[in-house]
Amino acid sequence: MTAFRQSVEAMIPALRRYARALARDADVADDLVQDTLVRALRSERLFLGGDVRSWLYTILTNLNKNRRRSLARRPQFMPLLDNNPDASGTEAEGRDITRALSTLVEEQRAVLLLVMLEGLSYREVADIQGVPIGTVMSRLARARAHVKASLEGERTALRRVK
């Protein structure tokens, strides 16, 4: 296997994690990863070195943007509850963060996940989204404020019920 393919392969688990958080549905997430890998492998000869990791995140982020754009033209049936939370963490906490993420607009969710979950730098995220660093920082600030409010809102709601 070429060095290029090895570095693509090494990224598959992290791409799956990012896609899962981005798209929620596990099958849709793996579809995104598969499309990302197919595109990356097709462009193997065009890849002139550089950061494979950032490049893969860029492809996946753009594919998801296109997917959501085409979804937006159809009526959506969103499940009210995430019935399939991953095992780790307490289930309630996992559902809370998943639901909070789902209320973010697309660009903000991508920034939040790339920085907080995938550990990318502001510079890398700016290149991935094709925007200035200042835009990344304001998207991140808004996303954090929104998720924080959403999590706190749910906690208050729970407390009120008790």
Binding site: R16, Q34, E93, M137
Partner: protein, 139 residues
């Protein structure tokens, strides 16, 4: 030497949490946080948020990679993908051709009618041998 009186901005709080802050400013931010409990609580909430994200999604890293995502399999398959794309292009082109022929039939029917003449449901469709080429009688 940084002036300790320069107020810490919200951007700097984010940069501090994300390890994007220049090392020489970290001490200032830490001093600021110990004097501003609201900001300290916000920073703590962001850290808790990051922990919740990892708690929720890190388990994906340990899952076995599905067969359909294996590199060897994907490298062997691009030909199928190309055939698929070729077939899709062919279908799209066929669709476009038949649409065009429907429209040209329509034009022919309208041109055959005299002004004021009413045609009652007797449309005769004559197969156009080459719908892509304009027939002599048409403008």
């Amino acid at each position: 030497m940084t002036d300790h009186k320069i107020p810490v901005t919200e951007d700097e709080l984010h940069a501090y949490v994300d390890n994007e802050l220049p090392a020489e400013r970290r001490g200032d931010v830490e001093a600021w946080l110990s004097a501003h409990p609201d900001d300290a609580a916000r920073v703590q909430a962001w850290r808790t948020m990051a922990e919740a994200l990892h708690a929720r999604y890190d388990s994906v890293l340990d899952e076995a990679v599905p067969k359909r995502l294996e590199i060897e399999r994907l490298v062997r398959q691009p030909r199928q993908w190309i055939y698929g794309a070729a077939a899709a292009a062919l279908i799209a082109e066929t669709g476009a051709l038949s649409l065009r022929s429907i429209f040209s039939f329509d034009l022919i029917e309208q041109r055959r009618r005299e002004p004021g003449e009413i045609v009652h449901g007797q449309l005769q469709f004559v197969a156009d041998p080459d719908p892509a080429r304009p027939s002599p009688g048409r403008i």
